[in-house]
């Protein structure tokens, strides 16, 4: 027994499945016992089954390259990552708290801006924000909620403590992969689902539907909900189609919609126009409405902002919600939680240096080789400096970038991200770094996914988990351990 994990060495990191003395953590006990009962051949067979399943299920994401768009199959590791249910309950409470405060903050920014008047957050957050939309000032979305769907990235440090790494409040992706990962794992390791108490995750589409339906401006029994996609060349198109299908709603492109003379939104159907109540839009703000934003864009719908402001249609996420997606805002979230909710934050932030602040910038410039520097408003892991893995030349370049535009940069210590056993060759497990993206839904009620999407850096030692940068993923199990 114990052959598979015998030589496994998590090093100085926190390993999700195996503790420092080489014993399985409680929620992983059954899993590891089972894996150890499999031969290397059997395990390899399961891996190949997973690979074939991914292909047949057509699970893919699109990568932009110089040769054009390539539909890549989803990289998947069959060894699940486990988290104890009791521990997850705390994290879930922390996420709900965080998103409640963030939505209060966004609503405040587009109305009275009390947080600025009261000195909680500096004014330049708005005046220099790329994602603040003056067009949205004074608009009051239902329940005061702007960010209805949020993907918050969590990481653990070497002590096992969860930290929030960033909040994605614009059009976060990945939830479909979370659901598909479970579907694949059920096919590959079916025996485990019989005995282990693994919490189901399948209700996400219903929860999303409820969240969206609650936003309908017309109080009717069956509001018309649509998912708005930029189209097949978008890297998350797979997810857009998946969610529309799972919710049983129409997947539309901008050209399928138009705004009537009554400032309501309609779909172009074979029967004629049909009114739309709620749009789950997966298009960035700036492409939503060529009348207001990018005039050349053909992705959106002319007049959509007019319809939204008139209260004739709900947009999720609301335009302008991305203002809180700023990594500088991130640094202030603990203060915002205290300010709006009068509570102590449950989930801590990672220490963050704001280059805008003189003392912080000085420290960052002197410690570029130790820190991770990130632009305030990018996503997908682009434009970053990972200090310990960077050359002197890179550091010089970032020093110049920071000095030229300090507002646009933050820095954080290089985290010792936790690891989990990952299949790297036939019958060989090695630790690979990972993070976790739970999804938080909010309108009338608040809901957090059971676990989330675990992303894995497939390269040894790498900390980059983004799928657009070659990362992979795993199924995430929230396990009830009573009785183990």
């Amino acid at each position: 027994m114990n052959k598979l994990t015998k030589n496994y060495d998590p090093d100085a990191y926190y390993d999700e499945l195996i503790d420092q003395s080489g014993n399985p953590r409680p929620p992983a006990q059954r899993l590891l016992k089972y894996l150890n009962s499999l031969s290397a051949d059997e395990l390899e067979k399961r891996r190949l089954t997973a690979e074939a399943t991914v292909q047949e299920m057509g699970i893919s994401f699109t990568v932009y390259t110089e040769e054009g768009n390539i539909d890549r199959t989803w990289p998947f590791d069959i060894i699940p990552r486990t988290i104890e249910a009791k521990e997850w309950a705390v994290t879930e409470a922390g996420l709900k708290q965080r998103l409640t405060a963030l939505n209060r903050f966004i609503d405040d920014l587009y109305h009275d801006q009390n947080c600025i008047k009261d000195g909680i957050i500096p004014e330049y957050i708005i005046t220099k924000s790329k994602n603040f939309r003056p067009e949205c000032v004074g608009v009051s979305p239902a329940y005061g909620v702007w960010a209805h769907i949020c993907g918050t990235d969590l990481v653990r440090d070497e002590t096992g403590q969860f930290y929030v790494l960033e909040d994605n409040l614009r059009v976060p992706s990945g939830v479909s992969y979370m659901l598909e990962n479970r579907a694949i794992t059920k096919r590959v390791l079916p025996e485990l689902f019989e005995n282990d108490d693994i919490k189901p995750i399948a209700d996400y589409p219903s929860q999303l539907f409820e969240t969206l339906a609650a936003l309908s401006p017309r109080k009717i029994e069956r509001p018309e909900i649509v998912v708005l996609t930029p189209g097949i060349y978008n890297s998350a198109y797979f997810e857009h189609a998946f969610l529309a299908q799972q919710m049983g709603v129409e997947l539309v492109e901008g050209s399928d919609l138009f705004i009537g003379n009554d400032d309501c939104v309609y779909t172009k159907t074979i029967y004629g126009p049909e009114r739309v109540d709620v749009i789950y839009r997966r298009i960035d703000d700036l492409y939503l409405d060529p009348e207001v934003f990018e005039p050349d864009s053909v992705l959106g719908v002319p007049g959509l902002m007019r319809a939204w402001k008139a209260g004739n249609v709900a947009l999720a996420n609301a335009p302008g919600a991305g203002v809180a997606d700023d990594k500088v805002v991130y640094a202030y979230v603990p203060d915002l939680i205290r300010y709006y909710l009068d509570e102590e934050p449950i989930l801590p932030n990672v220490t963050t240096y704001l280059c805008e602040r003189d003392d912080h910038r000085e420290y960052v410039l002197q410690n570029l080789d130790k820190l991770v520097v990130k632009p305030a408003n990018e996503s997908g892991g682009y434009g970053m400096l990972v200090g310990p893995h960077s050359s002197k030349k890179d550091q010089q370049l970032f020093a110049e970038l920071i000095q030229a535009n300090p507002r646009n940069y933050i820095a954080q210590p290089t985290l010792k991200l936790s690891t989990a056993p990952t299949l790297v060759g036939k019958g060989t497990l090695e630790p690979r770094h990972l993070d976790l993206r739970p999804f938080i839904l909010q309108s009338k009620d608040t809901y957090v996914t059971t676990g989330g999407l675990t992303r894995v850096a497939m390269k040894k030692g790498s900390l980059v988990v983004n799928s657009s940068q070659g990362g992979g993923s795993k199924d995430t199990w929230i396990v009830e351990t009573k009785g183990v």
């Binding site: 997947l251 074979i270 029967y271």
Partner: protein, 314 residues
Amino acid sequence: MLSRVAERLYWCARYLERVENTARLVSVYDDLLYDLPREIAISWYNLIEINSGVELFEQRYKVKDERNVLKFLLADDTNPGSLLSSLKMVRENLRTTRDVVPGEMWELINELDLYAKQHIKQGINRSERHTYLNTIIGGCQKIIGLLSGSMDRGAGWCFLNIGRYLERADMNTRILDAANSVLMQSREEESVKLGQVIWSKVLKSQSAYLSFRRTMRSSIKGAMAATFLLTDPHFPRSQLFCLEQIKLAASALPRSEVIAHQVNMLLQNTHGVERSEDLNQEFSRYLNDIQLSIIALHHQITDNWFQYMQGDAA
């Protein structure tokens, strides 16, 4: 149903039917190889002619032999009507309409697409061609079975049916023409002998053999086989049946009168052949005229449902 989605479903079904019928078409000739007397050489190039592929084929290939014809019909990605191109188009159209069809359809089409690509050599080489073509036909039927068994009979279903039966009607005429042209190329004394062989292959390729026997209660003769495939009211691949199905599917959709009118004209013009001597150049022209009417019908369908005219909203 969104106009765009309706159009993509329609095309999805057309391409899927084209995949199946291309496999059936090739299998007619493939089977003939084994049963024809050695001295009779069948011209694979007929298949290019009846598929209106002459110009494109000649840009790509110098030699009009079996191998090149099969490469062109099955594998060639510059031929938009090839089996692999058609499958790709099924997949592309489905990729953007997955939300309105049963979830398993996407898996089945991926499975079929992977098989078709990975085993394409079997289709081109003679020894395993039969297995390859049969698997493709089976894969298409599995998808249609899935749809029949689990898709609700809403507008999406209607557009899938219109696409499928329109393409099937078109391909039906091409398969008939394929047999007709082999016979026209043979010498008169051969053609009687050949007729039996060829028409039974055509019926088998259309899964019509038993149905023909039961319905016509006759030995297989060209005129009767062609008549059966054109006018039988109950066989699901006959011309008459396909046209009736288009009418039926359209009747559940808005503004269907104009389509019904056009289909009725086509139905009035659907007739069999009296004598086997009538299977000649004239018959080939008749089939060609049907194909032109089908193209006209396609344009009418496009105008009627897919070109959205922005109406007065509220």
